[in-house]
Symmetry: C2
């Protein structure tokens, strides 16, 4: 017959689910409580209790009858140890499941329903399967603009919020996919030097050779507790830190993790994901860079323009002034690809060194000009250029590096690169016809970036440049000889750079 | 820098995923191979190799650098033990993922694409998240009839196929949700006694108080290896066994498991699920019973008729003659609810005992008559009635029970019931207005069915019957006093039986 509760002995499994709170119980015990996979149980331990998803072990040496296996997230959350005694009871399933089914059936969700779903995601109350149903539902039955606004706000609210008590707070975002596109580290010092507050949180590379956080980490620390970040901002009016350490819009990471499985990226999810982070820091003026090109995230102009419109609509509903620019995404920006090489490029531009990557500088100035325009300054391009030329942006960057415990006076050429090199040489004289973003990113990763900061690729040429037979097209840097060989073998098989 | 392969030491985790082959590796090792969650690795061990989903442990005491955690399905499949040494390499993701994305994007799938997806599901190559994306895709973008045919065939082909070398093979299916609806155990002996081949595989209860396999198990064994089942059929022309032990259309169970999470049931999935099992046993003539009622699976007549049409279309494409009957699903069928009580009902009908449940008998005769009609016999109702009246059906059932190692001569009243009883008494004189299928099923489960075979509910009355104050409406049977108390408490709070 059924029982209402059971006393079980904990086995700490020492394995992490990567999110959901999951307890594993034996099939026999499941029968006693009439529990089925994906049912919920309430676990009581001393004065603590927690509701979790239940997994039923069909036959398991680790979870005999009378025991309960706790995945790391659960052990941590309830402070459970091996042999702790807990009591479990059947619990109601989260309300979210009804709302997810509703969305899957093509109905629109209310603000409250979306808030409940996001709360459950953030608090690890949904299993991966349930979260996947939600993501599929939003993918197949695209969110309305209202739903997207509620999703964005809910994602921001269920995380850390930065309150700076400033009238104007600026921010930027570049849609990914372009190697070397390190505009943040130049744009931020320009705007901050102009007196604007720009609390910048950046991401690390997932499948690219370097994220802004990885590149900034070459020059300074990027991991700070929330309060410490606020201190830095109060001194420099800005910061360039890793957002991953700050719990901003935490639902987003969990959603992206599932989306990656099929490489899907629902438009409304992309919008909410980006804007939730801007909303978390209470941005008022934001520039969004959408690179358009054959081997990048947004491949066609019609889609880019539609996205631009949506960003503006969403911004309006969130009380933000948004400027979207569609930029040339057909090749990498700058010369260096990989954290150290990109940090060198950034410093060269800020220091106005000879031989600095002018394409990167130009793009940053364009972004600054557009930001100044929505801030009410028509002469933005000249203001930005002046800030850069006079060294004010570089001074600001040195202040940021110092506050973030780095070495402000390091010179570009002092930044160490990986010790093995390999040059790719032009086999004929001609012009560079194309450089494939995906191939370059992949080669730089094979070389070891971003894990090895000094690994990566240095590009000597861009599309349209003349090249002579025997001239270097690029240099690969890797920490090991094997790495170099591996890249060299891959270079042959990839149509990465075409000379014609 | 990246490496191409790694040698790792196995940790047998002693936990089952319930399906997918999953290996867990340390975050550090993942970086070396540039692996991300849901990527695939190929594992080499001696002469064996296997491709699995990789899970990345962010911080785990159980999976230090240099080790690889194997979930039970993987350990079993490759015969891995603690401290076995294996080599791993990055593997390509399954082609299915592209097809699943295609379906999610609203495109139709080809036969080959569906076959690949089903192959990957059966061989545990898809993670739960990936499988959920497939199920969502089919739910949001319903399968065409062609897709449903291919899905049905693929699900059957990727499992055990029963080849009996008979021109006519008959089968039946009842859509679930009606407690006591044990028609199989009466219909099968009638049809087999009439000389037809009817290799019946049945399911166990999932959320109901008894499945046909649970009820048959009161009288005989129901778990047989495939070859043994064939032997039984060769002697009796029929059998009544548990399909779960036979690996028929195994993809179906995995799909249903995920669907249960949100209680969704895509129509095309329901069709494929039922028909794949008929296709696996090469059925030629099939009767499908769709009960329609307020507390059952199919609640409205329009939906039932649409389903009827689809079943016929699908049958045609599969070369099966299908007869669908829409039956009254507003109350339980028969008197007993729970394995032993239902087995008693079945034997009473087969023995033509006084006091047998006439509603159950009538329904079985109706189903037999419809089967005879599609088999070309117009006088089916009389044939079936005669087979039942003359005891031929009972003799056939005794033969089946004997071949399945049961006690063929057991009398209904000799079947043991749970020892504690509780009578629900009418508080006023009147007529039975309604009996809620869901409540009755839940009460019988609370009493202990199907785990305790003797537990359940005996209904003395059906809708429309007169009842006097003080008369018994039902008796509850449970293995413990606590069970009785629990049911009694629940009886008060449920609008299970309304007398007016």
């Amino acid at each position: 017959m059924r029982r209402e509760k059971l006393k079980l002995k904990v086995k700490a499994l020492g394995i992490s689910t990567g999110g959901p709170l999951v307890a594993v119980i034996n099939e026999e015990d499941a029968k006693i409580l009439d529990l089925h996979p994906s049912d919920r149980i309430k676990i009581f331990h001393g004065e603590n209790f927690e509701t979790t998803v239940v997994d039923i072990a069909k036959r398991s040496s680790r979870i005999p009858k009378g025991s309960i296996g706790a995945m790391d997230e659960l052990s941590d959350s309830m402070n459970l140890k091996d042999n702790s005694l807990v009591t479990i009871k059947v619990a109601r399933k989260p309300l979210s499941l009804d709302y997810i089914k509703k969305k899957l059936d093509g109905y629109h969700l209310s603000r409250e329903e979306i808030e409940q779903i996001i709360w459950d995601i953030v608090h690890n109350k949904l299993s991966d399967v349930e979260l996947t149903f939600f993501i599929s539902a939003c993918y197949c039955n695209p969110n309305t603009m209202d739903e997207t606004v509620w999703l964005t706000k809910a994602m921001a609210q269920e995380g850390q919020i930065l309150k700076l008590n400033k009238k104007v707070i600026i921010d930027k975002h570049s849609i990914g996919g372009i190697p070397g596109n390190r505009t943040t580290m130049i744009l931020v010092p320009i705007m901050a030097a102009a007196g604007y507050t720009m609390p910048k949180t950046s991401s690390r590379a997932i499948t690219s050779p370097a994220g802004t956080a990885d590149t900034m980490e070459v020059l300074a620390k990027v991991i700070f507790p929330f309060q410490k970040m606020k201190d830095i901002i109060s001194k420099a009016n800005t910061c360039i830190v890793w957002g991953g350490a700050l719990n901003l819009a935490p639902a987003d990471d969990k959603i992206i993790n599932v989306e990656k499985t099929l490489m899907i990226d629902a438009e409304s999810q992309l919008l909410a994901s980006i804007m939730a982070k801007k909303h978390s820091v209470k941005s008022t003026h934001v520039i969004i860079d959408i690179p358009v090109g054959p081997n990048t995230k947004i491949t066609d102009l019609r889609k880019a323009k539609n996205l631009e419109k949506k960003f503006r609509q969403l911004g309006k509903k969130l009380g933000m002034e948004i400027k979207v620019i569609l930029t040339d995404g057909k090749q990498p920006i700058g010369n260096g690809i990989g954290p150290a090489l990109e940090a060198r490029d950034v410093l060269k531009v800020l220091r106005q060194d000879i031989g600095r990557p002018l394409d990167l500088e130009k793009k940053c100035l364009l972004m600054a000009a557009n930001l100044f325009r929505i801030l009410g300054k028509e002469d933005g391009l000249n203001i930005a250029r002046k800030i850069l030329k006079t060294g004010k942006a570089y001074e600001k960057m040195k202040q940021i590096i110092k506050l973030q415990k780095g070495a402000p006076n390091i010179k570009p050429e002092e930044i160490p690169l990986a010790k093995f090199e390999y040059d790719m040489i032009a086999k004929k004289t001609g012009k560079i016809k194309s450089i494939n973003n995906l191939s370059i990113a992949k080669l730089a990763r094979i070389a070891g970036a971003p894990k090895n900061q000094g690994a990566g690729i240095y590009l000597y040429k861009h599309i349209g440049n003349n090249i002579r037979k025997g001239e270097k097209i690029l240099t690969v840097y890797s920490g090991t000889k094997e790495g170099i060989n591996y890249v060299r073998d891959s270079l042959g098989s990839m149509a990465d750079i075409v000379v014609y």
